[in-house]
Amino acid sequence: MPVFIKDSEKCVGCLVCMFACARAHKAAGVESSCIKVRSQGGISRGFSVFVCRGCEDPPCARACPEDALIVRKNGGVLLNEAKCTGCGYCACACILDAIGWNTVINKPIICIQCGECSKNCHYGVLEFKRE
């Protein structure tokens, strides 16, 4: 379980984790980010963070009709872009809503388990553990 949410009550909603995720995917912006931050129905109620927990038996991979998602040894998946048709089943299968979507290329953004989101969070909302 590489990144987990330690305390979302401390999240200030700055989205710095999303930009870190995008940089890890070689982009500036948030289109290429898979981590998401949303208010819990209004900012006064605080924020929820949606991030891949690196499942060992990932439903996203099972849902992919093209076998484009390869299960990694220590959890999580890798995307074989050449096989991906952009059907979106993987994103629907993820109950955590931790798969991003690049609408420009119409492909999922898959967590690469790098921990950049956690390393960039100043408020200790996320914790990165390498097992």
Binding site: C14, I43, V104
Partner: protein, 586 residues
């Protein structure tokens, strides 16, 4: 400027014909960067000298710059319009998610013109613009939040901005604000009333486009260094910890925070409305604007019992800052943090600019005490320093009141005091009400001559702080005010939050701009800043703003400031210099 950067796109929206189109304006962004610089050029193009602020022809312009969405704390949007409060340049800045949403929807600026026949709101999702009916939202006040309804009906959660007005904007109070993300505001100079005049209840913008950079490796390096500085530097500490309200006690100690319409600088019990006390008693949550790790937004949790129902409470979250504690606290002789929060709640519900509202209430109180107005004017309300319940009623009356008096105070105290008298103690600067610093010459001259008559134009209080240690000549003071305001045009064109100004030095900005494909050196930037400043002033003068008729309110000479009693000869000399220097730029 990078070729495929969507910054060049200006979205035009015509509310009358319900049409929209996009024009490529690379020319403007290449020369004036974005934000304030591009907005003033779009204002020149779209607003003539004789345009009435409430006519359909008055444009509402939102602009961002090249660094928004690319670098941290470049998190603000500039709004420009003709101000119904002053009749000339209307400019206000806000954060929230607005800058990110606008930039990533694929635009550098938006120009909204025309007037809707029925109340409506605009939803901008990427390259699509929707004109939605808002007749049901018009007139809603406490209880049902229009923003909540819009939130439910629009896509883009997490990456969208919802800018909306309250009853004050609908009813054309000239200092009505536009609220975004519940806690941020285009506060000053009446953008809310311009929305209201267009029957425009709200603007929703969502987008998440990636942005191009020239050199990704270099980009990562600069980004990471900036992020590190923003969270670790001592320069950012006060915004991180207590927030801007950290200034209440030091300014009270140095006699810089105005009390009771500036009748005095002493307030017994001011420690109860200090940043320290707010944090200890009320701080419930800290939040940030998008793409800013500083999280200066401090939310107080106010628990209120229902008077008619035991064991029923409601907890509201309210954002507090130094300016609000001044305007709705010390200025009104209020020394309880709960009372300040109660007034903040009413001001938020009404959708008013907090600073102007507080100063208007202070003027009403003194005018009443002096017998200039009486309970016939106020329809029975008797103002009293420190009486929160009366002030809460007054705020609602300003918005909903029907009689002549309330119609006048709904247009600010310059207008009201022209009718009823009491000019000497009307704390207004070229028609805009006073911000919370009576620290010395620079703050007052900054409000008077700043292009938007705001404390943020040139941060005179910082200059006054220097002057406390080492006195300045009028020449030195004027030079500092002007160069600061001109440099700030660069920050507000990029658009970087002013709180990050010490991190974003000229060198840093040069490097960041190179990543966005702009090659300017420090000297170029200073020249661009000066040109933007001059353009703003030219627009003001074209609209009838007259520097020769400017003067400081008499009251500021009567109460000692942080730098002692202000000397009239000194201010006259400085005013003369300011006029000459500004005229030489035009």
């Amino acid at each position: 400027m990078i070729d495929r950067d969507p910054l060049k796109n200006v979205l035009y929206i015509d509310l009358t014909k319900k049409r929209f189109w996009i024009e490529e304006r690379r020319d403007l962004f290449l020369k004036y960067l974005g934000g304030s610089g591009v907005a003033i050029k779009l204002l020149e193009e779209n607003c003539s000298a004789d345009t009435d602020p409430f006519s359909p022809d008055n444009p509402v312009i939102f602009a961002v710059g090249p660094l928004n969405g690319v670098f941290p704390i470049a998190s603000k949007t500039v709004a420009m319009f003709k101000s119904p409060h002053t009749g000339n340049l209307g400019e206000s800045h806000a954060g929230g998610r607005s800058a990110l949403a606008l930039r990533m929807a694929g635009y550098g600026a938006i120009v909204i013109k025309g007037k809707s026949e029925k109340p409506c709101y605009i939803a901008i999702h990427g390259d699509k613009v929707y004109f939605r009916d808002a007749t049901t939202l018009w007139g809603l006040t406490e209880g049902v939040s229009p923003a909540r309804l819009i939130r439910k009906n629009e896509p883009g959660a997490g990456l969208r901005t919802i800018m909306r007005i309250g009853p004050a904007g609908e009813r054309l109070i000239s200092y009505a604000c536009v609220t975004l993300e519940t806690y941020r505001h285009f506060g000053r100079l009446g953008l809310g009333a311009v929305f209201g005049s267009k029957k425009l209840k709200a603007v929703v913008i969502s987008g998440k486009k990636d942005l191009p950079v020239t050199d990704f490796k270099k980009y990562k390096e600069i980004y990471e260094e900036l992020l590190h500085q923003l969270v670790k530097s001592e320069k950012m500490k006060k915004y991180h910890e207590l927030g801007t309200s950290a200034n209440v006690l030091p300014l009270s100690f140095s006699k810089g925070i105005p009390v009771k319409n500036l009748l005095t600088m002493d307030l017994q019990g001011i420690e109860n409305i200090s940043g320290e006390n707010f944090a200890q008693k009320h701080l419930g949550r800290r939040v940030a604007c998008s793409h800013c790790p500083v999280a200066c937004i401090h939310l107080a949790a106010l628990r209120k019992p229902y008077e008619d129902e035991p064991y029923f409470y409601r907890t509201v979250y309210l954002s507090y800052d130094y300016e609000l504690i001044y305007a709705l606290g010390s200025m009104l002789g209020i020394t309880s943090s709960e009372d300040v929060l109660k007034l903040i709640e009413v001001v938020e519900d009404m959708g008013l600019d907090a600073i102007s509202t507080g100063v208007v209430l202070a003027w009403i109180t003194e005018a009443f005490e002096k017998g200039i107005i009486n309970d016939k004017h106020t329809e029975g309300l008797i103002p009293e320093w420190g009486n929160v319940n009366i002030y809460a009623q007054f705020i609602r009356k300003i918005v909903y009141g029907q009689n002549e008096f309330y119609r006048y105070v709904g247009r600010g105290i310059d207008y009201a005091s022209s009718k009823f008298g009491g000019k000497d103690f009307a704390l207004t600067y070229a028609k805009n009400e006073m911000p919370g610093y009576h620290t010395g010459y620079a703050s007052h001259l900054g409000y008077l001559f700043g292009a938007r008559h705001s404390h943020l134009d040139s941060a005179g209080y910082s200059i006054d702080k220097e002057a406390m240690i080492k006195p300045m000549t009028a020449e030195q003071l004027v030079e500092k005010i002007l160069s600061e305001e001109q440099w700030r045009q660069i920050l507000s064109s990029l658009v970087i939050c002013f709180f990050g100004r010490e991190i974003y030095t000229a060198d840093v900005i040069e490097n960041c701009l190179r990543i966005s494909g702009f090659n300017f050196n420090k000297e170029d930037l200073i020249n661009i800043g000066r040109e933007i400043y001059a353009s703003k002033y030219r627009f003001k003068i074209k609209c009838g703003f007259n520097m020769d008729s400017l003067s400081l309110p008499q009251r500021v000479f009567e109460t000692p400031s942080g730098n002692g009693l202000l000397n009239k000869d000194f201010t006259d000399r400085a005013i003369q210099l300011l006029k000459e220097k500004i005229k030489s730029l035009l």
